[in-house]
């Protein structure tokens, strides 16, 4: 299973390296979300500083949806998904591989967004380990849930409008917990931040396990 | 004054790096052009309809 996962992850990442879609489209999109939310919340620095963690995670969430759509689209060609199924690769391995690829891209994205938020909203992360841990754990959850729901909506014609509708409510706990932990990291308040980690970790574990178990049956059913 | 130095360094450095990347890209595409040209010349058919083929492994 692990070797298959590496195989699939490598394939997805190599496709990304060739086409550079995430680099040229998803990252600018995320920065755009930052800018638009800044427009919405107003020119004064204080409300923006207060809203910075939330803005960060909204941008991450929207970018996750884009990344999932891209990940699913890679295999939407004629017969590609059937070929993948028939190739004998362990479906759990496919799940892990795709989740790993998306997760890696999301991590890179978060680094860029972190710089953007620091720069545009005039905030500074004071408890760095908290922010990094929260991002890592949240990313696992986002990637796993994302790949799962991506597979769910994969064959459908209305995939592009349905996927956000399906997956964003599911990711809401990550938004909540992520925002709170980052708020704590910005304030320098480590203890309240760790409380919210207790929501992020189970979320990640649950969707990781569910994904490994359900991805295969999901592929059969689709 | 640090900011000023950083600004000048950033401006000059970025333009220098960009110019270098442009030069490298041009060289890469010029090479690709030459290679593609060579393949086209070799691949053209003879008057009698056969083709001067490249032996696999041997590049002109």
């Amino acid at each position: 299973m692990w070797r298959d996962a590496l195989l699939v992850a490598g394939k997805d990442l190599r496709i990304e390296a060739r086409s550079r879609v995430a680099l040229w489209q998803v990252v600018p999109f995320a920065v755009l979300v930052l800018v638009l939310l800044a427009f919405a919340i107003g020119p004064d620095a204080a409300p923006l500083r207060a809203a910075a963690p939330g803005i960060f995670w909204i941008a991450v969430l929207f970018s996750t949806v884009l990344s999932i759509q891209r990940s699913v689209a890679i295999e939407s060609g004629e017969g590609t998904r059937d070929g993948l199924r028939l190739s004998g690769i362990d479906p759990a391995g496919i799940f892990l591989g795709k989740a790993a690829a998306i997760g890696l891209q999301l991590l890179v994205l978060q680094i860029v967004l972190w710089a953007g938020v620091t720069f545009l909203f005039d905030v500074r992360v004071h408890v760095v380990w908290l922010a990094i841990t929260a991002s890592l754990v949240a990313t696992v959850g986002l990637a796993c849930a994302g790949v799962l729901y991506g597979a769910l909506s994969a064959g459908l014609h209305v995939r592009d409008t349905l996927l956000p509708l399906l997956v964003l409510p599911v990711l809401a706990p990550v938004l909540l917990a992520g925002t709170k932990t980052w708020q704590a990291a910005l304030d320098g308040n480590a203890s309240s931040g760790t409380e919210w980690l207790r929501l992020l970790i189970p979320f990640a574990v649950i969707y990781l396990v569910i994904g490994i178990v359900l991805y295969g049956p999901l592929q059969e059913a689709a | 004054m640090r900011y000023v130095d950083a600004g000048y360094a950033a401006a000059l450095g970025t333009l220098l790096v960009y110019a270098i990347t442009l030069a490298l890209r041009r060289r890469r595409w010029a090479r690709a052009f030459k290679v593609a040209q060579a393949d086209q010349l070799v691949d053209q058919p003879d008057a009698d309809g056969t083709t001067a083929r490249v032996v696999p492994g041997v590049r002109p």
Binding site: Q25, P43, F119 | Y3, L22, R59
Partner: protein, 293 residues
Amino acid sequence: MTATGQTARPIPRAPAQSPSPSALSAAAAGRSPRWLSVVGLLGVIALGFTVWLGLWITPPDAVQGNLARLLYIHPPIATVALYWAGGVALVGSLLYLWPRTRSLFWDRLAASAVEVGAVFAALTLVTGSLWGRPAWGVWWTWDARLTSTALLLLLEIGYLALRRVPADPAVRARRCAVAAILVAIDVPIVHFSVDWWNTLHQGGTFLDPGFKLHAHGSMLWTFLLGFIAFSLIFVWLLGMRYRIEVLQDHVGDQELEVSLAERWDEGAGLAGAGAAVGVGVGTAPPPPSGSAP
């Protein structure tokens, strides 16, 4: 072994459709044209003098002190990004869409201008922030000029992303030309709306709306020299980027011809041993990892 050193005879193709390869290679693969190199050299020299004057010779400003030295490079860079690059991109796109003047030259020029313009736009933001941090205490503020420049950069990245989508050159040109025009329309609109929203960015240090110049002596000369230097550099970079654009399109054409030739041969029943002809068998860009000629 180079293309010119090969031993196979260059046999003219029976259906003669492609332009003479030698003419293209001379134009496209050769070194930069002389005038472009001269422009580049002059630009670099002027830039050197600007830096020398700006950092050492000129006196510190009465109000801003040494910080004002950034204003020898920040406004010129911004001007290049906004007006020179944006102008060339807009004009090029318009001229491409206008049937009378349609030519891929304008499309390629516009695309090159957008890329170089994006670099300058990013530099504008960087130098502006480095000025703003000591001057206002913050790296960033959401005033009209900064926000519009940031949005311009994002719009240009969007254009460049659009350009990378593989397509027939004429289709891509039309698509990108329209995109460029939309960008050009959008930036003033964004600027005005953000202006109403708030203003903090100071009015021009040197220039009034009435165009009265405030600075005097060596500061003024350095400022003007900065404008000239960065403008020349822009032209030089634009020229270099344009040539890459031309080369890319020609490589694409050549690879297409090679693929067509092979399909033609296969159709004539000559498939078989020795069918593997090196590079460019119908694959799209990127180019092969360079084998040294």
